[in-house]
Symmetry: C2
Subunit: 184 residues, 2 copies
DNA sequence: GATCGCATGTAAGTGGTTACATGATTTA
DNA sequence: TAAATCATGTAACCACTTACATGCGATC
């Protein structure tokens, strides 16, 4: 039975994409899956060390001049087995925590104008994500038929697109409802 | 400056709705905001005790026959001040972690049929949420014009609706793309 | 001369969850 | 008679995050 620790398996999955250093993992997360995942160095480096101890990955050290050594981790057969075990388990029900909505629902305690400003701020963030999304979509759309791996990458991104669209529509609805609402 | 601990302020917010026991808080979360929030007793009870120590809430004990005492917590002026401070701060950027998508994107390591089954499982969960959503929407739609508090409650729910819709559409797209995909 | 990118790591702290303990009452 | 509801709590554990430390080379 796999551990409940999803982060572990995401790191294993990234190493299955290709051998990487801890630093590379951070970059890769921020470039490719940042819409639904994040990792900190404080989590990455200790986890990679555990992989070595458990035989789920092996390392090779790349000496560099004028730079620290790169420690590149490669997934092992045992690592891939653990990853597959986890992949086959049904995902655990998500326990949501949306800080924006939490603030929003208690927003009757602050002026209406504050509610509006917070949605506008939220929308600007969404616009930034949308820009990133469009670039990624253009990139992935082309080779989505190459392999199931590519198709799954593309579809994963697409979910982000649907959700973004939903959020943006909501912003418009919420803004116009609040602007129309009479002052108390 | 408010602490980074959002859970704390959600509990304070719920106590602002009305005085409640820890048990009530759990029920209220599951009935009204479960689409974007969750709480465990192991978090609720210690937090309520801290509120007492910090003067953010006060308690009254309701004796009952044949049942344990109910300890009802009521927010204080100081508690409301802390809550408002938090509400006025811009929400911190969300650090997403979606376990379903994490499993999905590495799904090329398991049979295509597993990918399909996991989406179907996911969609069934969404259908359950949709049912709950429709009931709640009918309830809240009526009195959304009563007060800004009600309007914000309704709008919060609406975001859930937009996101649900997006997820459901995605399921259809992903299922048909995967069903069409040739076996390797 | 400051900051950014490269690159690795750790120690202390945070913000919880899980599992357990208790026990009467009501419902299936 | 088993399980669910009511009701409170704690102790052990977990999965991280934050802040710090190091240090060279390149860019602004």
């Amino acid at each position: 039975m796999a551990k409940g620790n999803a982060s572990r398996y995401v790191l294993l999955g990234l190493l299955d994409w290709e051998p990487m250093s801890g630093y590379d993992i951070k970059k890769t997360v921020e470039k490719t899956i940042r819409d639904f995942w994040h990792e900190s160095y404080g989590n990455i480096y200790p986890t990679l060390k555990k992989f070595l101890a458990e035989g789920l990955a092996k390392k090779t050290v790349e000496r560099q001049q004028g730079r620290p050594d790169r420690i590149v981790y490669q997934i092992t057969a045992a690592g891939r087995r653990e990853l597959v075990d986890w992949l086959e388990e049904p995902p655990r029900p998500q326990r949501a925590r949306d800080e924006f909505l939490a603030k929003f629902i208690f927003g009757y305690l602050v002026p209406r104008q504050t509610n509006i400003e917070q949605i506008e701020h939220y929308r600007r963030k969404l616009d930034e994500r949308l820009e990133w999304y469009r670039e990624m979509e253009a990139l992935l759309k082309r080779d989505r038929l190459q392999s199931r791996k590519k198709l799954l990458e593309y579809l994963t991104l697409r979910q982000g697109g649907y959700v973004l669209e939903g959020h943006l529509r909501w912003c418009e609805e919420a803004l116009s409802a609040l602007r129309d609402y009479p002052d108390e």
